[in-house]
């Protein structure tokens, strides 16, 4: 990255650029939403236009693209031209990733930066794997839910490998913050796609136990509930027959002073899919939700009524769910 002194001196005053005539932007007579460019921005882009039109792929052109990127990191034309220069100069792409590290530190929510990283990593291949995984970890240490970084990490794993420690990494992130939905998503990504693990069905039992523990510690946490449902994707039959799932719902409902919304919602979904709970279960569930429905009414209707009560923001939804219950539901 250029030193401060380079950045401050106008290009028109720098001897190395004296042979170049800057090309001004021609917006036409009545541009819409004109922007009040700073002099620095205007001048840098005028010089960029000049080297772009001349197709100059020199070291000074490369430096200029860095200055343009510093002012305008979203400009894909500049990034694309930079890539052309890097290829022409046969530049060291490890150095380039160092450059991107610095740019990303102030511009991390920018698609072009991440695309450029991917371009460089793709060219480097396997030798970039651990560096890219480390880089994303560094981003996560500041923002564990950084969307671009998670997309990049998933791409690295699938294109370059490095799955060995991924499940453990998810575990670590969840220990730091059990509410981190990105980490739960990554966990799902790993157990379903890692070539080193046995796939969803093989992993299911242990994952259900892990998730149940997360749920009982914080029943108001939406993420593990969604994850649990995801473990039985396209296989509601197995879910209904998994004793861990039902007992989990009941355990939460028996706990005082916690959120019941997700437990009730899960129970409702199971009932709608045809769950036939035991009499014992029905009685226990009714006892817990009895304040919401008269005794003897369908369990599903009772659950809906209780949801209207504990999740009033979505009262219209729960009323609608109640009115559209399948005929044979318990």
């Amino acid at each position: 990255m250029n030193s401060n002194s380079d950045h401050k001196m106008p290009l028109s005053q720098r001897p190395e650029w004296s042979d170049v005539t800057p090309v001004p932007q021609d917006d036409g007579p009545n541009p819409v939403v004109p922007i009040a460019y700073t002099d620095d921005f205007r001048e840098t882009m005028d010089y960029f236009r000049a080297i772009y039109l001349a197709d100059e792929r020199s070291p000074r052109a490369l430096r200029l693209t860095a200055e343009a990127i510093a002012l305008n990191a979203a400009n894909y034309t500049v990034w694309q031209f930079r890539r052309l220069i890097l290829e022409s100069l046969e530049a060291d792409l490890h150095e380039e990733l160092n450059f991107v590290d610095v740019v990303a530190s102030s511009n991390s929510k920018n698609y072009q930066i991440w695309h450029h990283r991917r371009w460089a990593a793709e060219k480097l291949g396997a030798e970039a794997t651990s560096r890219e995984l480390e880089f994303t970890k560094k981003v996560f240490s500041a923002d564990a839910k950084h969307y671009h970084a998670w997309s990049h990490r998933q791409w690295v794993l699938q294109a370059l490998g490095g799955w060995e420690d991924e499940l453990a990494y998810c575990q670590q992130l969840l220990e730091e913050d059990i509410f981190n939905n990105s980490a739960w998503n990554q966990r799902y990504f790993v157990i379903t796609r890692s070539p080193l693990l046995g796939g969803l069905e093989t992993m299911r039992d242990s994952e259900v136990s892990y998730t149940a523990e997360a749920i009982t510690s914080k029943p108001e946490n939406e993420s593990p509930w969604r994850y649990l449902r995801g473990l039985f994707k396209n296989d509601m039959h197995s879910m209904m027959n998994d004793p861990q799932v039902l007992s989990l719902c009941l355990t939460v409902l028996k706990t005082k002073n916690v959120s019941y919304v997700f437990a009730l919602s899960m129970l409702l979904d199971l009932l709608c899919h045809g769950l036939q709970p035991s009499e014992e279960f029905k009685n226990a569930a009714h006892a817990l939700t009895s304040e919401a429905g008269p005794p003897g009414s369908d369990l599903a209707r009772t659950v809906c009524s209780f949801l209207e009560h504990v999740d009033p923001m979505r009262i219209n939804y729960w009323k609608w769910r109640k009115s559209t219950l399948p005929a044979q539901v318990v």
């Binding site: 090309v23 932007q25 021609d26 917006d27 036409g28 007579p29 009545n30 541009p31 819409v32 939403v33 004109p34 922007i35 009040a36 460019y37 700073t38 921005f41 882009m45 236009r49 772009y52 039109l53 002012l71 305008n72 979203a74 400009n75 894909y76 034309t77 694309q80 698609y111 991440w114 695309h115 991917r118 371009w119 839910k145 969307y147 998670w150 997309s151 998933q154 509410f179 939905n181 990105s182 998503n185 990554q186 799902y188 990504f189 796609r193 939406e222 993420s223 969604r226 994850y227 449902r229 995801g230 994707k233 919602s265 009033p312 923001m313 979505r314 009262i315 219209n316 939804y317 609608w320």
Partner: protein, 361 residues
């Protein structure tokens, strides 16, 4: 938001204590932006057309677009269109759409011919949306070029790349392609079946959609998925229960996930366990509207939350108490339109513009 008497907070960054949507101030804000954007926006120079879309479409939703010079807008937008030098070049693999601004459009000094095609799918969507908003007849626009070259951007997995020179591919650009095709009334530029497959692959285990297959489900991505399916004709209108069994995506799970995005403060979040933000009132609210489930949200709570993001300078901010920006302002106005605020035009939610048909245009 805490209860305190109106006008009690001297902090200029505090949210407006207005009891209601301050339309006049929002119109003023947009008109100011339309005239000249502050230098903080120079980092978005490459996407100026998008900023123009926010301003023009925003004014239209606020029923103030007639204050603008439509011919000037049309001529500026059309000047950003890329044209191949001759017919043969249409098969050269490039996409000939619209540039986001002059900064991706280069003019050779000597012969004055625009060279270097840097046109972008999202800019093309914005260009067509603006033209449609100001009443320009799109069939007169060189739409043939756009449609013929659009397919050069579709990838083997059904997704779309935004520029032919190489970029990330994800659901945002599937949406742009679908919206462009819909506005031009012609689907020859994209393979809808392949796009549909890609969208299906983006539905996460929790019912929402991520930007790419395997990514975390996200409000913005979910909008792109559902709006695209709607535009392409893969979603039936009507209450969710009707479409549940026949739909290609898991609608009940999507519905449940989307509704759960309305958080305790009444606003919408983009992902579970993340803060609420003005724009998701449109992204997720829009999904619910398309699914016929907007009636299930707590409109009062949302209304109250949005007002905490309304700025005393006009416009909306991302979070309560911050300064407004053009993006969150546009989505704030759109969200109020979804709430059917009197005085605002209804919007065609899947296109992100005011509903001309509903207005009677």
């Amino acid at each position: 938001m805490e209860d305190s008497p109106p006008g009690s907070s001297p902090d200029s960054n505090s949210p407006s204590r207005a009891e209601s949507f301050d339309r006049d101030r929002h119109v003023f804000f947009l008109q100011m932006m339309y005239q000249l954007m502050p230098s903080q926006y120079q980092g978005q120079e490459i996407n100026r057309l998008t900023l123009a879309y926010f301003a023009v479409s925003g004014l239209h939703i606020l029923r103030s677009v007639d204050s603008l010079h439509k011919e000037e807008i049309i001529s500026w937008v059309l000047s950003l269109q890329a044209h191949p030098m001759n017919e043969d070049l249409l098969n050269d693999g490039q996409f000939y759409g619209f540039h986001g601004s002059r900064s991706s459009q280069f003019q050779k000094i000597d012969n004055g011919v625009w060279m270097s095609n840097g046109s972008h799918l999202a800019s093309t969507y914005c260009a067509l949306a603006i033209l449609k908003t100001v009443g320009h007849d799109l069939s007169v626009t060189d739409s043939e070029t756009i449609l013929k070259s659009l397919k050069n951007l579709q990838q083997p997995d059904g997704s779309f790349m935004p520029i032919h020179s190489g970029a990330e591919t994800d659901l945002r650009f599937v949406y742009c392609a679908a919206a462009i095709s819909s506005m031009l009334g012609n689907w020859s530029g994209m393979d809808r079946e392949m796009a549909k497959e890609y969208i299906i692959n983006c539905q996460s285990y929790d019912g929402g959609f991520g930007l790419t297959p395997g990514s975390e489900s996200h409000g913005g991505a979910t909008y792109c998925a559902v709006a695209s399916l709607q535009l392409m004709g893969y979603i039936e209108d009507g209450l969710p229960s009707k479409s549940a069994s026949s739909c290609i995506i898991d609608v009940p799970l999507l519905l449940d996930w989307s509704l759960q995005r309305q958080a305790a403060d009444g606003g919408f979040q983009g992902r579970p366990n993340k803060p609420t933000d003005t724009c998701y009132a449109f992204w997720v609210g829009g999904v619910l509207r398309i699914l016929g489930a907007y009636q299930f949200i707590d409109k009062t709570a949302l209304h109250k939350f949005l007002l905490t993001c309304q700025s005393e300078y006009g416009g909306f901010s991302k979070l309560p108490g911050q300064l407004p920006d053009l993006y969150h302002s546009f989505y704030g106005f759109s969200a109020f339109s979804l709430l059917e605020k009197p005085g605002l035009h209804p919007i065609r939610v899947e296109l992100g513009i005011a509903d001309n048909a509903a207005i009677g245009l």
